[in-house]
């Protein structure tokens, strides 16, 4: 597009191109507008109203309530409990998932030349499988007399009823989520590890650095952006924690695994659409805040 066109008065060619471009964008814009942008905006508007499931047929009955839902949420013990649970999941789950994935990625990258693809396929398999399908097996494993407790019994430990214990239900789901998500991180970390120049390792070796020192002084600093990317992706996913509690514990026992998304979904079930929308926007705000922090950090790194 060599011709420099005046931005105000477009040449006929530029105008034609604009029309063609919008034709290309049209199917996307229509579908995306109707099924993404409109619901996104309605959700925001809804969060300031007392819209209920029963009002779907009669929108005239809906009243504007201002920020009442947001204020109510901040003093709703169950919502705050869900917020705490989500925080617990994020704060424990992310380091756990990252550490396991990093360990396995480094092991795969160092010294393993044969079967690397096979190993990677193995670790990635849980990622591609439906949570509904694997939940059946995990419920078996975590039963009071299940596989896990059978193994613990060999060691002389009498394990709890994992999913029905307010103490252990959340850690159980955290381990399950780590199992499901580590494959994604292994792939990302492996790609990052490929970018660590072998020369740097050789130089460090010549300087007399041992394996641990080489890992902390050479590999980790170069891997930092990759680790950060992994952490952010994981936190965006984990903040929306829902499927595991939904299929494994129904948020129980005694709301011990109730997450923000689960709370929102419950309010939807109760027909409290306005309240649910407000809760979902609070979650959105959390994720947006996190993304902004991420972009800041990534930008200063470049």
């Amino acid at each position: 597009m060599a011709s420099v066109v005046n931005r105000r008065r477009r040449s006929p060619g530029a105008r034609r191109q604009a029309v063609v471009a919008w034709l290309f964008a049209a199917p996307f814009v229509v579908v995306f507008g109707i099924f993404m942008v409109v619901p996104l905006v309605s959700s925001f508007v809804m969060s300031f109203t007392d819209f209920r499931g029963s009002d779907v047929a009669d929108p005239a009955a809906v009243d504007f309530v201002g920020p009442a839902h947001y204020l109510a949420l901040l003093s709703d013990a169950r919502f705050l409990h869900a917020l705490r649970n989500t925080g617990y999941f994020v704060v424990v789950g992310i380091p756990l998932t990252m550490a396991v994935a990093l360990l396995l990625a480094v092991a795969l990258n160092n010294g393993i030349t044969r079967f690397r693809t096979a190993f990677r396929v193995g670790f990635y398999t849980p990622v591609v499988t439906s949570v509904v399908a694997v939940a059946v097996v995990w419920r078996f494993i975590l039963q009071p007399d299940g596989l896990l407790n059978t193994v613990l019994a060999w060691l002389g430990i009498s394990g709890p009823d994992w999913l029905h214990s307010t103490t252990w239900a959340m850690p159980s789901l955290i381990v399950m989520a780590a199992w499901r998500n580590m494959g994604t991180l292994i792939v990302i970390f492996l790609a990052g590890l490929q970018n660590v120049p072998a020369e740097l390792h050789e130089a460090a070796l010549l300087d007399g650095a041992g394996p641990w020192r080489r890992f902390t002084a050479v590999t980790l600093p170069i891997l930092r952006p990759t680790l950060l990317l992994g952490a952010v992706l994981l936190s965006v996913g984990y903040l929306q924690f829902f499927e595991e509690p939904f299929v494994m514990t129904r948020g129980g026992p005694l709301d011990a695994t109730l997450s923000i998304t689960y709370f929102t979904f419950q309010q939807f079930g109760f027909g409290d659409y306005g309240y649910a929308a407000a809760a979902s926007y609070l979650l959105f705000a959390l994720i947006a805040l996190l993304s902004i922090v991420q972009f800041r950090i990534l930008r200063t790194k470049r």
Binding site: F24, P39, A107, G111, T117, G146
Partner: protein
């Protein structure tokens, strides 16, 4: 037999990129065997639930109740699978899942590459705004749009219909981003010369751009198929009548119904649900992991 892993090296002619560094040759031998052993244990633990799922699906109810933690079935039986295909009519749910996934993939491939082309290569007013909207929605959690989307689809009368299951996922901001990034790398000179020859934009798109887009289209197709096949919450809410269940919905409803204690049946259902994806994954694993490496999202 080659000692070089082929996955990072597309052709055999590519020279070895990295000679064995001293750092590594020092740790071959015993250290390497330890690494292999540790990885084998780790991958074994990772895959153990799947092995147990498959073995359990071949057991009858008696055996599962007698020995809940047993491994090998004493007398393997296909009975659980036969009930799914017989009495429970899993064929319908399977077909529903396939139809939903295929249309979702087709829509994403076509529409995302079209808008991706416009965003990458054409000038038009509103381009920056359009791209900004797409990027912003990338971080919107699904739960935010869930309720208005449900109200919308319900008012359109699309509950229990394929359009109700497909339309909300027919395009994705991630797909647009992926296609725009890739099409941006197509040389302008190529498009210019086609324009000189009098080709219109649609012709350029269909004849030049699209044929070059194999890799990102494959990535997007795989990611979309995976997401659609495993999608659970939306179909659970929209598919309310048995004829429109997708596989995950059918399985989850059976696992909470009066069949909840028929464990072999549930395990067989799980195997049926995951096997197409696992099969595709094993065959096309590079495409799956490429998607993750390029987009960072499964």
């Amino acid at each position: 037999m080659t000692l070089v892993s082929t996955e990072e090296r597309p052709t055999a002619a590519t020279p070895p990129r990295r000679r064995p560094a001293p750092a590594r040759s020092g740790s071959t031998g015993k250290g390497q065997w330890l690494t292999y052993a540790a990885l084998l244990v780790a991958v074994g633990l990772t895959l153990m639930p799947f092995l147990w799922m498959v073995l359990g699906s071949l057991k009858n109810q008696d055996e599962i109740l007698r020995d809940p933690n047993g491994w090998l079935p004493h007398s393997p039986t296909p009975a659980n699978y036969l009930s799914w295909f017989g009495d429970f009519g899993i064929g319908t749910y399977f077909l529903n899942s396939v139809v939903v996934a295929l249309f979702t993939v087709a829509g994403n491939l076509l529409f995302c590459s079209m808008v991706g082309y416009a965003l990458a290569k054409l000038r038009f007013p509103g381009k920056r705004a359009l791209f900004a909207v797409v990027m912003t929605t990338l971080m919107v959690p699904g739960v935010v749009t869930f309720i208005p989307l449900f109200v919308l689809v319900a008012r359109m009368g699309l509950i229990n219909t394929f359009p109700g299951l497909i339309l909300p996922f027919l395009v994705s901001p991630l797909g647009v981003f992926l296609m725009r990034q890739f099409i941006g790398t197509v040389p302008d000179a190529l498009l210019e010369s086609a324009r000189m020859d009098g080709a219109g934009e649609f012709r350029i798109f269909a004849r030049i751009v699209l044929p070059l887009c194999g890799p990102p289209l494959a990535t997007l197709g795989i990611l979309t198929f995976l997401t659609s096949w495993n999608n659970f919450l939306w179909p659970l809410v929209v598919a309310q009548n048995q004829d429109s269940y997708t596989l995950p919905v059918a399985l989850s409803l059976y696992s909470t119904s009066e069949h909840a204690t028929e464990y072999g049946l549930l395990l067989a259902g799980s195997v049926i649900l995951i096997s197409p994806i696992v099969l595709a994954f094993v065959l096309l694993q590079r495409l799956f992991t490429q998607g993750v490496a390029t987009t960072g999202i499964r």
